[in-house]
């Protein structure tokens, strides 16, 4: 009997190996973001001259728009998964394209905000309001790591959709890359209130 015909024991979790690998990655990455947010929380609580840099307009309003965009990108990703399961390849690719577009829009808004803050004098070690420099370093550190995940996700979505369209990957791979995208959305559900809203003027 060749190795390819050996009967395989069913996964106790009922998911294929690539999906299990993605869940393992998400668990590890979740702990990473958790560690960073805990560190931020302790630093913020332990810094007496912490300043609140975000006004309702434009910072919080921009953050709200970014949140709605990211949530909408999760919805389009769900559309992609539904179309992939139904065998509608072109429709699935269009949904993935919409997700990528929203991801790029999110990144563009984020970078615009960053550059506006740089212009005001904010930096990793600079606080133009005269308070703790940690405000800038924690903000750019946390949002930068999240932005890196968004950009990586847009690239991963493009690669998987391209290979799916060419028949090299199946619908389950669209679902697996979708898990990553939803995770990026989930992390933002903590970053937005803890980093933006808690620092609203």
């Amino acid at each position: 009997m060749s190795a390819t015909t050996l009967p395989l024991e069913e996964s106790p979790l009922g998911i294929p190996s690539h999906k299990l690998a993605m869940w393992l990655f998400i668990m590890a990455d979740g702990a990473t973001f958790g560690a960073i947010l805990f560190a931020y929380g302790f630093l913020r609580a332990g810094t007496p001259d912490w300043t609140k840099p975000f006004a309702l307009w434009p910072s919080i309003a921009n953050g709200c728009l970014m949140t709605v965009i990211l949530l909408s990108s999760s919805l389009t990703m769900l559309g992609a998964g539904t179309a992939a399961r139904a065998g509608q390849k072109q429709r699935c690719v269009r949904w993935v394209g919409a997700t990528m577009l929203l991801g790029v829009f999110f990144a563009a808004l984020h970078l615009r905000e960053w550059f506006a803050m740089f212009h005001e004098g904010w930096g990793l070690g600079h606080n133009p309001l005269g308070g703790a420099a940690l405000v800038g370093s924690t903000f750019f550190g946390i949002t930068g790591l999240h932005l890196l995940h968004v950009v990586s996700g847009v690239i991963a979505l493009g690669v998987v959709a391209w290979r799916f369209q060419r028949g090299r990957l199946g619908s389950e791979h669209i679902e697996t890359v979708g898990l990553y995208w939803h995770f990026v959305d989930l992390v933002w559900m903590f970053v937005f209130p803890l980093v933006y809203l808690l620092n609203a003027r």
Binding site: M27, F38, I60, S72, H182, L186, F190, F192, P193, L198
Partner: protein, 93 residues
């Protein structure tokens, strides 16, 4: 799950974000604000895990294998970080 359910969940998530912003500008005490925002974020995370990431429709073993492990790691981190601050200030006891 069909798209109608997904759209309902999406609208619910946007509503929760709106509540977060409204609570912030109601200017409660810092402790109340932190507790409220964390509670709302946890609800959003649970909804995202169950509906967007399909944990509700996978085998229960996957949910019980993933979520408690991550929560355990995060709780342990929460206990370790104050110790790191104590060491930073060189107060041994």
């Amino acid at each position: 799950m069909n798209m109608r359910t997904y759209v309902t969940v999406w609208l619910g998530m946007i509503a929760l974000v709106a509540v977060e912003v409204l609570v912030t500008y109601a200017r409660p005490s810092p402790g109340t604000l932190l507790a409220t925002l964390l509670a709302l974020a946890l609800v959003e995370a649970a909804v995202a895990l169950l509906y967007f990431m399909h944990l509700k429709y996978e085998r229960r073993a996957l949910l019980w294998w993933t979520v408690p492990l991550v929560l355990f790691a995060l709780v342990m981190l929460d206990h370790v970080w104050p110790d790191a601050l104590r060491l930073a200030s060189l107060r041994l006891h």
